[in-house]
C-alpha cells in the first residue's frame, strides 16, 4: 500500500485540517470532537443541516458545507461512521433556532450513531429530524438485507434539502423535500479495482484483470456479483437500466444524471459513461435536464463509477438550480 499519508491513525485529522486551511472562507474545523461547520453559521432562523459518515468518500460530506447546502459535516474514521459525541455537538453548533435535519446514509453504523446523537441533542433542547438516504438499487430493500445503501444520491439530497433550508422552509418542510428527493433518486455502481483502507493495508477485495464487480458499495464492500470485463457501454447499461427500472421511468420525465467517479477513474472515462447513460435515458423518453460528472462520492482510490438518476419535479429542479457555494459544488 502506498498512500500520501503520514500515519493511518492521523490521516482523517490531517486531511480535515488541510481542508479547513484551504477553505477558511467557507468553513471552520472544530476539533475534539472533529466536525466541520459553515464559517458564517449558525445561520439564525434557518434549519440546520448536518450530515456525516465514514471518511474516504471525499468531497462528501465536508466538501458540501456552505451556503445552500450543509451546515455541518461530521467525518468519522476511514469508512467508519462518526460517533454520537461528535454528531451531537455539531448539531448543537448549527442550530439556528429552527431545528436541525440529520441526513444519514443507510448503513447500520450510521443509523445507530445518528440515532443516539439525536437523543443527546434532543436532551439538550435541539429539535432534530432525520432522513435516511437509500438510493443504491444494487441492494434489495428487503427482509434479507439491512436495506438499500446510501450512495451518490446523497449529493442530490444534501443539495436540494440545503436549498429548501436556505429559502426558509421549516424543519418539517425541509425534511419533506429531502424525503421527496430520496423517493426519486436511485444509483448503481461498478468497481474495476478495489481500494485500500489505510489501516487495513490490503485492497478490500481482489479482482483479476478480466473481471469487474457490479453493484459495489462505497466502503470497499464487494458488490453483488462479479462479471467479465466488458466495454463501457455494456457496463453503463448494467448500471443505468436497473436505475431506470427501479424509478419506473416511462418517458416524459425530467431528470438529473449524475455520473460519479469512485476516486481512481479518469474524468475522460466518466464522460464516456455519461454519454451512453444519457443515450439510454433519452431512449426511455426521459429528458436529462441537469448533469453532474465527476468525483463526488468516492471510495478512496477505487476504480469505478456509479450512475445516479434523480427524477425532478418543478420544485426539486428549481431547488437544484438554487445557488450553492461549497468547496466541491458551486453555482
Amino acid at each position: 500500500m502506498k498512500k500520501l499519508i503520514n500515519d493511518p491513525a492521523r490521516v482523517v485529522d490531517e486531511s480535515v485540517d488541510g481542508f479547513g486551511l484551504a477553505h477558511a472562507d467557507l468553513v471552520r474545523v472544530h476539533r475534539d470532537p472533529l466536525f466541520v461547520v459553515r464559517a458564517d453559521g449558525p445561520v439564525q432562523g434557518k434549519v440546520g443541516l448536518v450530515s456525516g459518515g465514514g471518511s474516504g468518500h471525499e468531497p462528501l460530506h465536508a466538501g458540501f458545507v456552505g451556503r445552500g447546502m450543509l451546515d455541518a459535516a461530521v467525518p468519522g474514521a476511514m469508512f467508519t461512521s462518526p460517533t454520537p459525541d461528535a454528531i451531537a455537538p455539531a448539531t448543537t453548533a448549527v442550530d439556528g433556532g429552527r431545528g436541525v435535519l440529520h441526513i444519514v446514509k443507510n448503513y447500520t453504523g450510521d443509523v445507530l450513531n445518528f440515532e443516539t446523537a439525536a437523543e443527546l441533542s434532543d436532551a439538550e433542547g435541539v429539535t432534530v429530524r432525520a432522513v435516511v438516504v437509500n438510493d443504491d438499487v444494487a441492494v434489495e430493500d428487503s427482509l434479507y438485507t439491512a436495506g438499500r445503501r446510501g450512495v451518490a444520491g446523497t449529493v442530490a439530497v444534501e443539495k436540494i434539502a440545503g436549498a429548501a433550508a436556505e429559502r426558509g422552509d421549516d424543519l418539517d418542510g425541509v425534511a419533506t423535500v429531502a424525503e421527496r428527493v430520496i423517493a426519486n433518486v436511485r444509483s448503481m455502481g461498478v468497481a474495476l479495482a478495489a481500494c485500500t483502507v489505510p489501516h487495513a493495508g490490503t485492497p478490500s477485495f481482489e479482482l483479476t484483470d478480466e473481471e469487474i464487480e457490479i453493484g459495489i458499495g462505497i466502503h470497499g464492500e464487494p458488490g453483488r456479483r462479479r462479471i467479465p470485463m466488458a466495454p463501457a457501454d455494456e457496463i453503463t447499461a448494467l448500471l443505468t437500466n436497473p436505475v431506470m427500472d427501479d424509478l419506473g421511468l416511462a418517458g416524459g420525465e425530467q431528470v438529473l444524471l449524475l455520473v460519479n467517479g469512485m476516486g481512481g477513474t479518469p474524468l475522460s472515462e466518466l464522460y464516456v459513461v455519461y454519454r451512453e447513460s444519457r443515450r439510454l435515458l433519452e431512449a426511455r423518453g426521459a429528458t436529462v435536464a441537469r448533469s453532474l460528472v465527476g468525483n463526488y462520492v468516492t471510495s478512496l482510490e477505487m476504480q469505478g463509477a456509479s450512475v445516479t438518476v434523480l427524477r425532478f419535479d418543478d420544485e426539486l429542479l428549481s431547488l437544484w438550480d438554487a445557488p450553492v457555494h461549497t468547496a466541491a459544488l458551486r453555482w
Partner: protein
C-alpha cells in the same frame, strides 16, 4: 478468584490486549464480507478505554462503574455498527451489576443484559450472522449452567465456550443484517467479525478470572 471490581478491571484490560492481538484477524474477517474496519474500530475503542481507566484518580468502586466507563468510551470512539452495539451492551450490563462481587445468577444477568442491549439497538435475531449469534448462545449457556448449580466462573466459562461455538456457527450463515447482508448468498463461508470479537470479549472475562496478571496497555 472472585468476580469483583479488580476482576472487571482485568477483564477490560485483557480485552484490550486480546483485541490488539487479533486486530488484523478481525480486519481480515471484516474485509471479506464488510468494510475491513472492525478490528481497527475495536482496537481504537479499547485502547481509549484503557487510557481512561488509567486516568482515573481513584479506582472505580463498583463493577458497574467500570462497565459504564467502557460503554461510554466505546460509544464515543468506535463508531460504525459495533460502537453503538457494544456500547449499549456494556451500558445494560453495567446496570445489572450493582454488586461488589458477581455470583452465578449475576453473571447470567450481566450477559443477558448485554444481549438485550445489542438486540434493542440492532434488531437482529439469531441466524442473521451478527454478534447476536455469539451472545445469544452465550446467554443461554450461562443460564443453563447457573440452573445446574455452576459457580460464577463456570457460568462465565460456559458462556465463553458457547460464544466461540456461536461465532464458528456463523460461517455458513447468509447475513441478513449489517453490512454483510449486501452480499446476499456470497456472505456464506465467512465468519462474522462481530461474533468473532464477541467470543474474544467473553473469553477474556474467563481468563481475567483465572489469571491474576494485569495485561499491559496494548
Amino acid at each position: 478468584m472472585t468476580l469483583d471490581v479488580a476482576w472487571v478491571d482485568r477483564w477490560v484490560r485483557r480485552t484490550a490486549a486480546v483485541v490488539a492481538e487479533h486486530r488484523v484477524e478481525l480486519i481480515e474477517l471484516d474485509r471479506q464480507i464488510g468494510d475491513g474496519d472492525h478490528g481497527e474500530n475495536l482496537h481504537r475503542g479499547f485502547t481509549a478505554v484503557v487510557g481512561r481507566l488509567d486516568e482515573l484518580t481513584e479506582p472505580p468502586a463498583q463493577i458497574g462503574d467500570v462497565l459504564k466507563l467502557v460503554a461510554t468510551t466505546l460509544m464515543s470512539t468506535v463508531g460504525g455498527a459495533a460502537g453503538p452495539l457494544y456500547g449499549t451492551a456494556y451500558l445494560r450490563a453495567a446496570k445489572v451489576t450493582g454488586l461488589p462481587e458477581l455470583d452465578a445468577p449475576a453473571v447470567v444477568a450481566m450477559i443477558e443484559a448485554g444481549l438485550e442491549g445489542i438486540v434493542a439497538r440492532g434488531k437482529a435475531t439469531t441466524g442473521e450472522k451478527t454478534m447476536v449469534d455469539a451472545w445469544s448462545p452465550a446467554a443461554a449457556a450461562a443460564q443453563t449452567a447457573a440452573a445446574g448449580g455452576a459457580t460464577a466462573l463456570e457460568v462465565l466459562e460456559a458462556a465463553a465456550n458457547a460464544a466461540e461455538a456461536g461465532a464458528v456457527a456463523t460461517d455458513p450463515m447468509v447475513a441478513t443484517k449489517g453490512r454483510a447482508s449486501y452480499l446476499g448468498e456470497r456472505s456464506a463461508g465467512h465468519r462474522d467479525p462481530g461474533a468473532a470479537s464477541s467470543a474474544l470479549v467473553l473469553r477474556a472475562a474467563v481468563t481475567a478470572a483465572t489469571d491474576p496478571v494485569v495485561p499491559a496497555a496494548p
